[in-house]
């Protein structure tokens, strides 16, 4: 019953037309709090992309080979969240061992990712739209890249905003939300290019 979309189309669509953050509102919490400087935005974006691809693949396999055959679909929320938490923990340990440099760059962001809605969101979208394995991989990769792109863009814009005269009541999250709104409008301009549902 998998929808008949070419994986590459799905990749483009999930980066631009249905950006996980700007169209589906997922991953807002860390998005707003981390987007203050470009360096950490980059680190977080990279970490989200990596974790997304790994957990989506794992969750797909678990869904297909464990939950559906055993008729335990209602347990999927708990299973998905455990898989995500465990993956993040494992990644943290592995990266710490293998590459201390990368750990310095990514390490502090990893725990934040467990509660990032985008990760769970991709797993749930993949389940509801019944993607195949390849489609899931490309969808997860695209969503991660889209999120990364959005947070980098916002961080860069925020740098400019810091120098701009913003009304007192609008400072802080208010102006950030307006900025995100304009970004979302720009991304809507891409729609019509590819459609995904």
């Amino acid at each position: 019953m998998a929808p008949d979309i070419h994986p590459l189309m799905l990749l483009v669509a999930s980066i631009f037309t249905s950006n996980i953050l700007l169209a589906n509102f997922l991953g807002m919490c860390s998005f707003i709090s981390i987007s203050k400087d470009i360096k950490s935005a980059n680190g977080l974006g990279m970490a989200v992309t990596v974790v997304l691809v790994i957990t989506a693949a794992l969750n797909w396999a678990i869904l297909k080979y464990v939950l559906i055959p055993l008729d335990l679909l209602y347990l999927r929320y708990i299973v998905f969240i455990i898989v995500i938490a465990a993956t993040v923990q494992m990644l943290e340990m592995i990266i710490d061992r293998v590459s201390p440099g990368l750990y310095m760059a990514l390490g502090i962001f990893l725990p934040l990712i467990t509660v990032n809605c985008a990760i769970l969101g991709v797993a749930l979208f993949m389940e509801i739209r019944s993607y195949t394995f390849t489609q899931t991989l490309f969808f997860a990769l695209g969503s991660g890249l889209g999120w990364w792109l959005a947070i980098m863009a916002l961080a860069a814009i925020q740098k400019k905003i810091q120098k701009a005269p913003v009304p007192a009541g609008l400072q802080g999250p208010g102006i950030v939300l307006f900025t995100i709104g304009f970004m979302a409008m720009a991304f809507i301009g891409f729609s019509g290019m590819v459609n995904v549902q």
Binding site: F25, G27, I32, Y77, V115
Partner: protein
């Protein structure tokens, strides 16, 4: 921190409203705000989960080792979300379908974990339950306000009932994602201005 029920209510609805102060937890719910009915059901769901998970965390606070409390809290929340999902599917199948993945995403709603961690850990069960419910309520009214504007201007309806005459053009933008960001930003702007004014008055 206030500890009388009335103070908690006031705090959570206005002074310390989780949405205004920390922009927490809008991920899962902002997406459904183009329709009042869905927003209402979703907010009720969040209230239910916040209340009961704060209650459970508070009851179990002496049993949970501090080191693993995050994961235990997540599991408690997931437990209530599953109950909510099954209830919705049984009694409101249409809405459950429309909400899609967003019901499951209540698990990662930061408000719930935040309340359980900040309040449930250090207060009695009943007070924590009340705190959770009122936090959910504070969250609900903000989202309902946004949904009200979006549905009214986007579709000309409220709760699916047509209210605007047809000669008023519909704002397509209100149905789409960006409007939620704009309305949220605008609401924050108004509220922060009111708060700043109050502060200036009480300071002078």
């Amino acid at each position: 921190m206030a500890d009388r029920p009335a103070d908690i209510l006031k705090d959570n609805l206005w002074f310390n409203n989780p949405v205004f102060i920390q922009i927490l937890g809008i991920c899962s719910t902002l997406a459904v705000t183009n329709n009042l009915t869905n927003t209402f059901i979703m907010s009720m769901g969040v209230m239910f989960v916040t209340g009961f998970s704060s209650f459970t965390v508070s009851v179990m606070k002496t049993l949970i080792p501090r080191k693993v409390r995050m994961i235990v809290q997540t599991l408690i929340i997931a437990f209530y979300v599953i109950i909510l999902d099954i209830l919705l599917r049984a009694y409101l199948p249409d809405i459950s379908k429309a909400l899609g993945p967003y019901v499951g995403l209540i698990i990662t709603n930061c408000i719930i974990m935040g309340r359980a961690e900040a309040f449930g850990q250090s207060n009695g069960p009943l007070l924590s339950f009340w705190d959770g419910i009122t936090s959910g309520l504070g969250y609900a009214w903000v989202l309902m306000a946004i949904a009200f504007v979006r549905e009214l201007l986007g579709f000309g309806t409220l709760f699916g009932i047509p209210v605007l005459p047809t000669f008023i053009p519909r704002w397509t933008i209100m149905v789409m994602a960006p409007s939620a960001f704009f309305l949220m930003g605008g609401l924050l702007w108004i509220i922060k201005t009111i708060m700043l004014k109050k502060e200036a008055n009480s300071g002078a």
